[in-house]
Each structure stands twice: as structure tokens, then as C-alpha cells.
């Protein structure tokens, strides 16, 4: 029974890798293998670039033998933080809101077995996120320090311990969210606000970590002793990965005990939480005049309502909005320092700085892939829009227009902040603004393009459509790749052309791609949607 349910849960998580929903048939083994390799490469790319570089900065700590535990402890905490951050949004819905809850609960399956299979999804998500930190950290450690059997054992044990702690914390937070949400009226917004605060804290710690690390490396003996004395648990966590017998046993046993306790609490309350309905006061209907909307307005409002109704959707596909605003604010706050650095260079090089800034802003825009899962999210309600007298072009237009609408204002704000602080010449300013705004349109169309090519209408939990589909993966990383390419190519082109000419060429290329995507969506895209 457990095997069957685990198989179902795994099949659901990795469904798009094995099954082509467009052709309604299983993928070939070769295609499945390619998809997994692409996914693995993306993870390696992120992990390698972000956390590999970070681990490399800390290699001196790993090299200083008496303080190796500090290296392990830092990455343990970072991996746990990232793992919880990555899976906390989906834990509540993954554990309690699956659409097949009623079906499974009606069968002769013990509740703990259902819960265990749900926990597997949480575990995999947490493991994936924390692996992006701990694997490059381990690789850097193995390069820096002599590889021993004990070291390898310690590294494996640390990965296991991290995954256990991530699951414990994710489940605890998911449980708290579940208990709160049955009593909240606007739980979507509350969840988003709490999550945003959590993420703000995370980024505050993350950005301040650099100066902290500099200080730490400079005074490693002093801080090492202080941590050992005042925050002994961090010392124990670090020692556990070396491995050192007593701390290793202590951390592993503590993790397992906490895990068992969490599972006991969740299994006791699972049935109640999973089947409870909100206890908030029932909203009273009052008849009032409503403004009549156009067909496009109505479909656009539907997309907006869909987005605003789901904290998962808002957080996973719209979080870049906050980043755009934060990036703009950061420029205002740290503007003088940035301007001073830029002004140190001759004007011809200063303009080159904007060639890097333009794709940097667009990279943040790429995080908002609202249109990508919007096709999959039609799910079982697809019949609705298909039975109504709405042209398919209008349906698709509403999907990409909503993404454009949501991105435009924060992008304008962000670019305006950059221009206000750095005061480029008018032509560079215009080109920067036009490029970023055109990219907003490009990425909205590209996201929808991915959504149309890789839809998944048969999900049992919206998180599979929002977070785990290939459409979403391609939309985000395709956007990232394009931005990185624009930025990287500048370093080749800067020898032969002025930054403004390069920006104008990038603008023209993006315009052509945007037009091609627009034409594809209005022709082939319409057919693809009608064939779903």
C-alpha cells in the first residue's frame, strides 16, 4: 500500500518528465532522460554559480583545521534556511490541500500512510533546495581538505541531517499555517505577507552575510571560540559533519527525534486539518450595481482573480515584483556609492555599465512567469472558457496581458530609480527604459509560449502546475539565459561598438523575437490551446 501511494506521489511530482500531455502519451526513455539531464544541469548551474562561489570564499575556514566545524555549521544553517524557504510555501498545500484527499481518506488506507506519502513530496522539495547549497559546499570542502573515508561519511550524514531538519521545520511551519488558515478570511494575502516578511529576513541575513564572513575570516579564532562558548549548538552541528562521534550521534538522534515528534503531531491532527473547512464568518451577499465589462476585461479580471486567490501563485510567479521595487529602492539608498564608482570610469565605459544593468533588471522580471502556469491552471475548468463565446486569441491575450500589467509598473519604477541615481545621457536612458519595457512584453509572451508547449491540465494540487511544471522551468530559466546572454555578449562586443549601439541592437533583436512570439501565439498558440 505504501509502495503504491509513494509511486503515485512520485509519479505526480515528476509526471511531466514521463508523460507528454500535449500528445497524451508517455515520453520515450530518451526524452525523459534528456529532461532530467536539463533539470540537473539547471540545478548544477545555480548551485555552482551561487553557492559554489560562496563556498569558495569560505575555503580558508575549511582549510584552518581547528575551525573546520565552522565551515560545516555555516553551510548546514544556510542549507536548512534555503530548504525551508524553498518548500515552506508548498508544504501547507502539499500536505493538506491535495484534491485527492477525500478519495484517499475514503479508502481503507491508514491516515498515517497518506500523510507519509504527502511528506515525501515535502522531503523531496526540501532536499532539492538544500542540495543546491550543500553539494557545492561539499565539493569545495573536498577540494580544499584531504579526502578521507570519515570525511565522505560525514558529508553524507550532513546531507541526511539537513534534509531531516528541513522537513521538520517545513512541516512545523506548514502546520502553523494550516491551523491559522482555517480561522482567516483573507488567508491568501496573510500567507503572502508572512512569507514576504520571512523572505525579507532571509535576504537581510543573506546580504549581511558577506560583511559578516569577511569579519569572520579575519578573526576566525576569536569568533570560533565565542560561538563554541555561547552558541554551543552551532559548534555541535559543525562537528557532526567532520564527523566527530558524539556530536554526530547527538545531531542525528536529535533530528530523528524531532522528525518522529513532528510526524506524531501531524498524524494526530492530519485528518482534522485536511478535512476542516474555514470557521470564518460567512460573507453576506448584498445586491449592488456591477459595472459591465468587455469580454477581454472579463477574462483579464478572471486571470487577476486567479492570481490573487492563490498565495502559491503569487509567491512563486510574482515574487519578482517585490525584487524590482527593492532593487529600485536599493539604488536610491545606495545610489551615491554606485554613482561614485560609475563616475570613476570614463563616460564611454560608464555607458557599458547600463548594458549590464538592463539585463540585470530583466533577470528580475524573468522571475515573474505568471502566464506560464496560467494554461495548466485552467485544469478541469478548461471546458468553461471553451464553451463560452470568447475567441481563443482573447483568452491568450488576457494571459500575457496580465503578466505585462503586473510587471510594467515595478519595472518602470526600478528603471526610473536607476536613471534618477545614475543620470545617464538621454539616449542611453531611453534605450535602457525601452529595452526593459520591451523585455516585459517579451517575457510575458515567452512564458505563455512555454505554458502552451508544456501544459499539465491533470494536476491534483495546484502547486504541481505553479511550481513543478516544465513550462515554469523553461519560462524562468529561458528568461535568465536570455538576460545572461545579452549581458555576456557585451563583453565581446564592447571592443568593437559603443554601448548605445549594443543596446539598440539588443533592443532590435528582442523586438524581433517578441514579434515572432506574438505571431506564434496568435497562430499556432491558438491551435495548441484549442487542442488541449
Amino acid at each position: 500500500m505504501v509502495k503504491t501511494l509513494l509511486k503515485k506521489q512520485l509519479a505526480e511530482i515528476f509526471k511531466t518528465y514521463f508523460f507528454d500531455f500535449k500528445k497524451n502519451k508517455p515520453r520515450s526513455k530518451a526524452k525523459t532522460a534528456i529532461l532530467f539531464v536539463v533539470f540537473a544541469l539547471l540545478i548544477v548551474f545555480i548551485a555552482g554559480f551561487m553557492f559554489g562561489a560562496f563556498a569558495y570564499m569560505l575555503r580558508d575556514i575549511a582549510a584552518a583545521e581547528p575551525f573546520r566545524w565552522l565551515y560545516h555549521a555555516i553551510f548546514f544553517l544556510l542549507a536548512v534556511l534555503l530548504g525551508v524557504f524553498g518548500s515552506v510555501f508548498s508544504t501547507y498545500s502539499g500536505l493538506y490541500l491535495s484534491k485527492d484527499n477525500d478519495l484517499l481518506l475514503s479508502m481503507p488506507i491508514p491516515v498515517r500512510v497518506i500523510m507519509l506519502t504527502r511528506l515525501l513530496g515535502v522531503y523531496i522539495m526540501g532536499l532539492l533546495y538544500s542540495a543546491t547549497v550543500i553539494i557545492p559546499a561539499t565539493v569545495v570542502y573536498m577540494i580544499t581538505c584531504p579526502v578521507t573515508v570519515g570525511g565522505v561519511f560525514g558529508a553524507l550524514l550532513q546531507i541526511f541531517n539537513i534534509s531531516v531538519f528541513v522537513m521538520v521545520l517545513s512541516c512545523a511551519l506548514g502546520y502553523v499555517v494550516a491551523r491559522i488558515s482555517v480561522k482567516l478570511k483573507n488567508k491568501g494575502y496573510v500567507t503572502v505577507i508572512i512569507s514576504v516578511l520571512f523572505i525579507a529576513l532571509y535576504y537581510y541575513l543573506y546580504f549581511n552575510a558577506t560583511s559578516f564572513i569577511g569579519e569572520l575570516i579575519g578573526n576566525i579564532a576569536l569568533y570560533g571560540e565565542k560561538i563554541k562558548e555561547h552558541a554551543h549548538i552551532i559548534y555541535v552541528i559543525g562537528k557532526a559533519a567532520e564527523p566527530d562521534t558524539v556530536p554526530t550521534l547527538a545531531v542525528t538522534v536529535a533530528g530523528i527525534v524531532l522528525l518522529v515528534a513532528t510526524m506524531l503531531v501531524i498524524s494526530k491532527s492530519f485528518l482534522k486539518v485536511a478535512t476542516s473547512s474555514a470557521t470564518v464568518k460567512k460573507a453576506q451577499y448584498k445586491q449592488k450595481n456591477t459595472r459591465r465589462r468587455s469580454v477581454f476585461g472579463a477574462v483579464l479580471a478572471k486571470e487577476a482573480k486567479r492570481f490573487a486567490s492563490s498565495p502559491n501563485y503569487m509567491l512563486n510567479c510574482g515574487f519578482g515584483i517585490l525584487f524590482l521595487i527593492a532593487f529600485g529602492v536599493l539604488f536610491i539608498i545606495e545610489g551615491d556609492a554606485v554613482a561614485n564608482i560609475v563616475n570613476m570610469f570614463p563616460s564611454v565605459f560608464q555607458r557599458g555599465f547600463f548594458v549590464i544593468l538592463a539585463p540585470a533588471v530583466c533577470l528580475i522580471v524573468s522571475m515573474n512567469d505568471i502566464a506560464a502556469p496560467s494554461v495548466s491552471l485552467e485544469g478541469k475548468t478548461l471546458w468553461q472558457i471553451r464553451s463560452l463565446p470568447v475567441p481563443t486569441k482573447t483568452v491568450l491575450k488576457a494571459k500575457y496581458s496580465f503578466q505585462i500589467l503586473v510587471n510594467t509598473i515595478p519595472t518602470v519604477f526600478c528603471v526610473a530609480c536607476i536613471i534618477a541615481v545614475l543620470r545617464p545621457d538621454p539616449l542611453t536612458g531611453v534605450l535602457l527604459s525601452l529595452f526593459c519595457l520591451l523585455y516585459v512584453c517579451f517575457h510575458a509572451l515567452f512564458s505563455l509560449f512555454c505554458g502552451l508547449l508544456k501544459p499539465n491540465l491533470n494536476w491534483t494540487n495546484e502547486i504541481f502546475a505553479i511550481k513543478q511544471g516544465l513550462d515554469v522551468l523553461f519560462a524562468i530559466f529561458g528568461g535568465f539565459g536570455y538576460c545572461v546572454a545579452i549581458g555576456a555578449l557585451w563583453f565581446l562586443a564592447c571592443r568593437i561598438m559603443d554601448a548605445r549601439i549594443y543596446l539598440a541592437i539588443a533592443l532590435a533583436v528582442t523586438a524581433v523575437l517578441t514579434f515572432l512570439l506574438y505571431r506564434f501565439i496568435n497562430r499556432k498558440g491558438v491551435k495548441l490551446f484549442e487542442q488541449l
Binding site: K282, Q287, T290, R292, W383, S387
Partner: protein, 234 residues
């Protein structure tokens, strides 16, 4: 008048609907019966433009569902067998969404929402999210949304499933009222007693093929509809 001519739809090797032809005239309640998997839902979905078909023609007063789907869809309404509605909307927002799509004026929509929501005792729940509705409430909302633009033809797939006896009775009255006003109803059902009492005409489908159609008397003769159906199914 709805005309279905030589409709054929295959799924892989299987012919779900095989050369089916039917005519539903204005003023008629037309029942569509058959065993599970006989091709009823496929036919109904093809008629309202949700599903493409391999060959054949479907027209409503000469307007083709394939050549001019928007004009066709503006004149019909569809109620599916399972009311998977937009659960992120409240009942009233959903009804306004449907009214917007069909271009129903503000005054008319208010009157109709009040009339039909009162009829199905759903008014007090209109401000609730659809996700919090029971199956029956969703079915009622689906019915109200179908009636909101006063379509000429209403296509329904198992409309009585999930409805309480009072709501079922009211729906039957509303179906008759549509036909009395010159509209038409084409619906599938497994409840043969209801079909016998309510329908002017009936069609029986088996393995995608139409095996009998006509007025109730023509189809059942002196037997009950159930007896006639079982005999044809053997």
C-alpha cells in the same frame, strides 16, 4: 433548430460517436440516453464547441459550430456533468463574469440573478467562494449561469445529478418554460422516469451509434421508456 449531421468522433482506435444525425427543433425538450461510455458526453461536448470532431456538421439555424463558433456559442448554454467552476471566484463574481462574456446588461443581469438565485435558494450564498460550495450548490450556480443570457438552446449533461428534489422540480419547470418561449433543450440523463415524463423526443445511443430516435411514443411504444431502452440495449 439544431442539426447534427453525420457526426463522427474517434479517440485513437475507438469510435466514440459514429455517424450520428439528429434534429432538435425549437420548442422541444430532447432527451439523450445511453449506457456509460455510449458517446453522450462526447456528442454534447461536440455540439457546444468544446470538443473538435472528425467529420460531420453541427449547425444552429444554419450557423455552424466549426465555421462560426462564436456566433454559435452566443446562442447556446452548456451545463457539464461535473460542475468544475472557477473555485477562486465567489458565486456572484462568477455570474457577473458569465454575464460580461455574453454582454448581458446591468439591469437584466441583476433581475435574472435575483430571480434564479431566489428560485434555487442560493441568494444568501452568492458572496461565498465557489470552492466552499457543495456539489449541489455548484450545480445550481451552473444552471443559473446557463440561464443568465437567456439562450435559445441549452445543452445539459446529467443536469439532475446532485440536485435536491425541490431544485430538480424547479429545473424541470424552467426547462419547459424555455421551450414554451421558443427555445430548445438537449440533455442527457440516466433517469429514465424523468426523461419519459419531461421529454418531447428522445434519442438512444449505443456504442456511438444512434439506435433509435423520435417522439416518446415512437421510441417506447406501449412499454415504459425503461423497458424499451433495456430491450434495445440487449
Amino acid at each position: 433548430m439544431l442539426e447534427i449531421k453525420h457526426l463522427t468522433k474517434t479517440f485513437g482506435e475507438k469510435r466514440a460517436v459514429d455517424d450520428l444525425s439528429l434534429e432538435i427543433k425549437n420548442g422541444e425538450i430532447y432527451g439523450f440516453i445511453g449506457h456509460n461510455g455510449a458517446g453522450k458526453t462526447t456528442t454534447l461536448k461536440s455540439v457546444c464547441g468544446i470538443q473538435s470532431f472528425d467529420s460531420g456538421e453541427i449547425t444552429l439555424d444554419g450557423v455552424s459550430v466549426t465555421a462560426d463558433p462564436l456566433t454559435f456559442k452566443k446562442r447556446i448554454a452548456y451545463i457539464p456533468d461535473n460542475p468544475d467552476l472557477y473555485e477562486f471566484m465567489t458565486g456572484i463574481k462568477y455570474l457577473n463574469f458569465i454575464a460580461d462574456i455574453f454582454g448581458v446588461g446591468e439591469k437584466e443581469r441583476q433581475e435574472r440573478i435575483k430571480k434564479y438565485a431566489d428560485t434555487f435558494e442560493l441568494t444568501a450564498d452568492l458572496a461565498q467562494p465557489i470552492g466552499a460550495y457543495s456539489h449541489g450548490m455548484k450545480q445550481k450556480l451552473s444552471i443559473i449561469s446557463a440561464w443568465i443570457h437567456e439562450p435559445e438552446m441549452i445543452i445539459m449533461d446529467e443536469p439532475f445529478v446532485g440536485l435536491d428534489p425541490v431544485a430538480s422540480h424547479k429545473l424541470k419547470e424552467m426547462m419547459r418554460e424555455v421551450c414554451d418561449n421558443g427555445g430548445a433543450i438537449f440533455f442527457s440523463t440516466h433517469v429514465l422516469d424523468v426523461a419519459e415524463k419531461l421529454c418531447d423526443k428522445v434519442a438512444i445511443i449505443k456504442e456511438g451509434k444512434l439506435i433509435k430516435s423520435g417522439t416518446m411514443e415512437e421510441v417506447k411504444g406501449d412499454d415504459s421508456l425503461e423497458a424499451a431502452f433495456l430491450e434495445l440495449e440487449e
